[in-house]
């Protein structure tokens, strides 16, 4: 045995091994390798596993070094076969082994048969170990470089045994084995271990990347949450742009509506000025066609449309989509000419745009709802019925002739009533304020209808100071007169009462007309708004209830819960 040729062969084989591993490393950077980083039982993954390891198995054979006139090859197909089995299971292992075996057999030589059987054996052993580890819940060990190296070493020993058994003449077999034993042992075990190490590295890489990505996305989502819900305007856009700029680290961030730049932060903010019209053709295209535009500066040229000396070299324009898929604006990410636009930021950008779109939509909806309620409220509180107003002026003119004192009292009532009506109805008032309001109103109505109207109050003293939403009683009293007593030939009577139990205050307005119509032709608006306002604030168990006995009475009752003391 020639020690010199053994060590030379070892070095040569290790060199070949290096080429092999470089190929593995390079491939590991591609998406192709992703399925290999998980022990998966899914068939598409197993097939990928089979194909890749078969390729490596064959490559191991091809990169081998022929010895003794090509009768044998000092080579490394064992790595592909063992790892194929170890990571893909017995079936994949066997398939890889058979594929590699057939390939080796086709190369011939006195070792041909033995070597091809070796490969099948190695695939099978890898697969069996896989099954054993899975069964015993030691999945983690599948990706242990040590285990892969050790297992490969064992299969190499078995391989050499098979070679000696099957190859003839025995003397030549013995000679060859003595020559290749050490190099194969070293190269294969080391190769398998490093290969698994590469896979581990790749897996960590993917996880690190997706962890970083998720963290970034979550961070941005948490920061921008609700900002644009308050309104898609310059101030809020500025806040959002700032967050995205800080979190993504891109060169610059802009937000536009359909016409102008709402916010711009980052490089180039000296000439990309908020509140100036959009000039970029990419942005205009994105708005008009609802398309994401990515101008990387190479395939799609990018040049700042404002300043030729602008340092920005690439831009991503993503439309913000509102109601009915209408584009309401864009969000733009930029990178300087010196930096490449990362895929992560591209994906992030699109995700952020989706998030912002839905927020803006939510915000608009909310805003409209609020506007509606506010305008209804405004309507209610400014709703001095003109018919009431002119009739009042008319009778005051009449009264001035005969009873100036009464005229003065009526004018004072009218002033109080108008002043309270013009007050913003947002705040709470004391029940006594509300009573003052309706007393002024009723003072006038009593003068108008003279002998046809009587009013009685029953409000316990201690309830006068409780707080109630402004404009709760007045609309109800107005309804009781307008749709109730003013329609009666006989004398109308209106009672205004308040009482409370342990949970709530009840305000009641009752008339003796009994003309309540659930679908009034006129405006049940006042009562509906009172009901909705109170329900909005105190919940469904509160609000207005109506009871009516036709031609006898209509009673409107408002339930206002006593607010829990905090």
């Amino acid at each position: 045995m020639d020690m010199h040729s053994v060590s030379a062969l070892s070095v040569l084989l290790l060199q070949q091994m290096c080429v092999y591993l470089v190929v593995a490393y390079v491939l590991s950077r591609t998406r192709l390798f992703i399925p290999l980083t998980r022990a998966s039982i899914r068939w598409p993954h197993r097939i990928t596993c089979y194909l890749i390891f078969s390729a490596f198995c064959i490559m191991g054979t091809l990169l081998g070094l022929p010895v003794v006139k090509g009768n044998a090859i000092a080579n490394t197909p064992a790595i592909g076969a063992v790892l194929g089995g170890l990571l893909g299971g017995p079936i994949v292992g066997l398939a890889v082994g058979i594929t590699g075996g057939i390939h080796r057999y086709s190369l011939g030589g006195s070792f041909g048969l033995a070597a091809s059987i070796d490969i099948v054996m190695q695939g099978l052993i890898g697969g069996l170990v896989h099954r054993y580890l899975i069964k015993h819940g030691k999945t983690r060990l599948l990706f242990s470089p040590l285990l892969a190296g050790g297992l490969t070493a064992i299969t190499i020993v078995i391989e050499l045994g098979i070679d000696l058994t099957l190859s003839r003449p025995f003397s030549e077999a013995l000679y060859i084995v003595s020559l290749i034993a050490l190099p194969e042992l070293i190269a294969n075990s080391a190769g398998a271990a490093v290969f698994v190490e590469i896979l581990l590295d790749r897996r960590d890489g993917i996880e690190r990347q997706s962890r970083a990505f998720s963290a970034k996305a979550l961070e941005i989502a948490a920061h921008v949450d609700g900002v644009l819900r308050e309104g898609f305007d310059q101030e809020n856009s500025m806040r959002v742009a700032r967050i995205i700029y800080d979190q993504t680290g891109v060169g610059a961030v802009a937000i536009t509506d359909r016409e102008k730049i709402l916010a711009f932060i980052g490089m180039g903010d000296d000439h990309h000025l908020p509140n100036t019209p959009i000039t970029s053709p990419h942005t205009l295209h994105a708005i008009n066609h609802n398309e994401v535009i990515f101008a990387d500066g190479y395939e799609v040229p990018y040049q700042c449309s404002i300043s030729p000396s602008c340092k920005l070299g690439s831009s991503l324009v993503i439309p913000l989509v509102g109601e009915n898929k209408r584009v309401i604006g864009t969000i733009k990410l930029y990178e300087p000419k010196t930096k490449i636009f990362s895929t992560i930021n591209r994906t992030l950008g699109e995700g952020i745009a989706k998030l912002l779109s839905s927020q803006i939509l939510d915000g608009r909806y909310e805003q409209q709802k609020n506007l509606l309620l506010q305008s209804e409220l405004k309507l209610l509180h400014a709703q001095v019925n003109p018919h009431f107003l002119f009739n009042t002026l008319n009778i005051i003119i009449s009264v001035t002739h005969d009873d100036p004192a009464k005229a003065r009292k009526l004018l004072t009532d009218l002033a109080v009533f108008l002043r309270k009506n013009l007050k913003r109805p947002i705040a709470d008032v004391m029940l006594s304020d509300e009573i003052e309001h309706i007393k002024a109103y009723l003072g006038i109505q009593l003068a108008r209808f003279a002998d046809r109207l009587t009013v009685e109050f029953d409000i316990p003293e201690h309830l006068l100071s409780v707080h109630v939403p402004a404009f709760t009683l007045q609309p109800l009293v107005e309804n009781a007169i307008k749709h109730g007593t003013s329609q009666m030939i006989r004398t109308g009577r209106i009672s205004i009462r308040a009482h409370q139990d342990e949970h709530a205050i009840f305000l009641e307005v009752e008339d003796n007309a009994g003309l309540y119509n659930p679908e009034p032709k006129g405006d049940g608006l006042g009562m509906n708004i009172v009901d909705r306002r109170i329900k909005n604030r105190y919940g469904e168990s509160s609000g207005v209830t109506v009871s009516c006995e036709p031609d006898v009475f209509t009673r409107i009752s408002v339930r206002i819960p006593l607010e829990a003391k905090t």
Binding site: P386, H387, L389, F390, N391, L393, N394, I395, I397, S398, V399, H401, A447, R448, F449, A450, D451, R452, S486, Q487, M488, I489
Partner: protein, 239 residues
């Protein structure tokens, strides 16, 4: 001398108009009413030349009341309103006179001038509320009774006047003529002298000689005239 009636449900408003009319020596106010029901009675009895008529009044509005008056004995009408965009629009369109409360002396003078010069007869059917009656006023001794249309069984014209029968068979005289009631109510003209509430008819009898008659649920027999029979059959979908 022009006789006038003031109809308004607010006493102080009536008082104010009375005061405003005081300087006009040729206007004699014969009465005041606080609702349309009273007013119908007074118009019936006093036959004023002009009625100052408020629109918004309990139960029967001023305009509804117009539909209950006999168009041939119609006083001049001056509408009163504090604020009623729709009514005012309709008055303008039909050249009906109206006053906005509070009334200015100049505007009132204009109205009085028109009244003195003689007002052409107006057709108040242009106002939907006046052209569709919900109820029929029946005049009794010092009382006006309102019969809802669905409580009316039939209306009969006799030499002594027009009589409305209710579902209980009670008869009351009304001032409204048969063809006015035919126009302003869903009652069906089945005979020169009869309107019938078709909802209360139980059967139609064919008689010999090609005549027919209605029998109501209460058993009352109402004749159908030969001339109107084809039209009624067509309307009821009888072939």
């Amino acid at each position: 001398m022009i006789t006038a009636l003031i109809v308004d449900d607010e006493p102080l408003a009536r008082q104010e108009l009375r005061r405003a009319l005081e300087p006009a020596k040729d206007i004699q106010i014969v009465g005041e009413c606080g609702n349309a029901i009273e007013a119908l009675g007074r118009i019936h009895i006093d036959k004023p030349d002009v009625v100052f008529l408020d629109i918004q009044m309990p139960q029967i509005t001023g305009i509804e009341m117009l539909g209950m008056l006999d168009p041939n004995n119609m006083p001049d009408i001056v509408f009163l309103t504090a604020y009623d965009e729709y009514a005012v629009k309709a008055f303008e369109k039909n050249a009906f006179d109206y006053l906005l409360k509070p009334v200015t002396p100049e505007r009132l003078e204009l109205t009085l001038q028109r009244l003195r010069n003689g007002v052409p007869q107006h057709d108040y059917d242009a106002l939907p509320e006046a052209s569709r009656l919900r109820q029929i006023p029946c005049f009794g001794q010092n009382v006006v009774l309102f019969l809802k249309i669905d409580e009316v069984e039939c209306v009969e014209s006799r030499a002594s006047g027009i009589y409305v029968s209710d579902i209980e068979g009670k008869e009351r005289p009304t001032d409204l003529r048969l063809n006015i009631l035919q126009q302003r109510t869903p009652l069906l003209r089945c005979h020169r002298q009869f309107l019938v509430n078709i909802d209360l008819v139980q059967k139609m009898h064919y008689l010999e000689s090609g005549l027919a008659e209605f029998v109501t649920r209460s058993g009352r027999v109402i004749p159908i005239s030969r001339r109107l029979l084809p039209e009624i059959k067509a309307r009821l979908g009888i072939l």
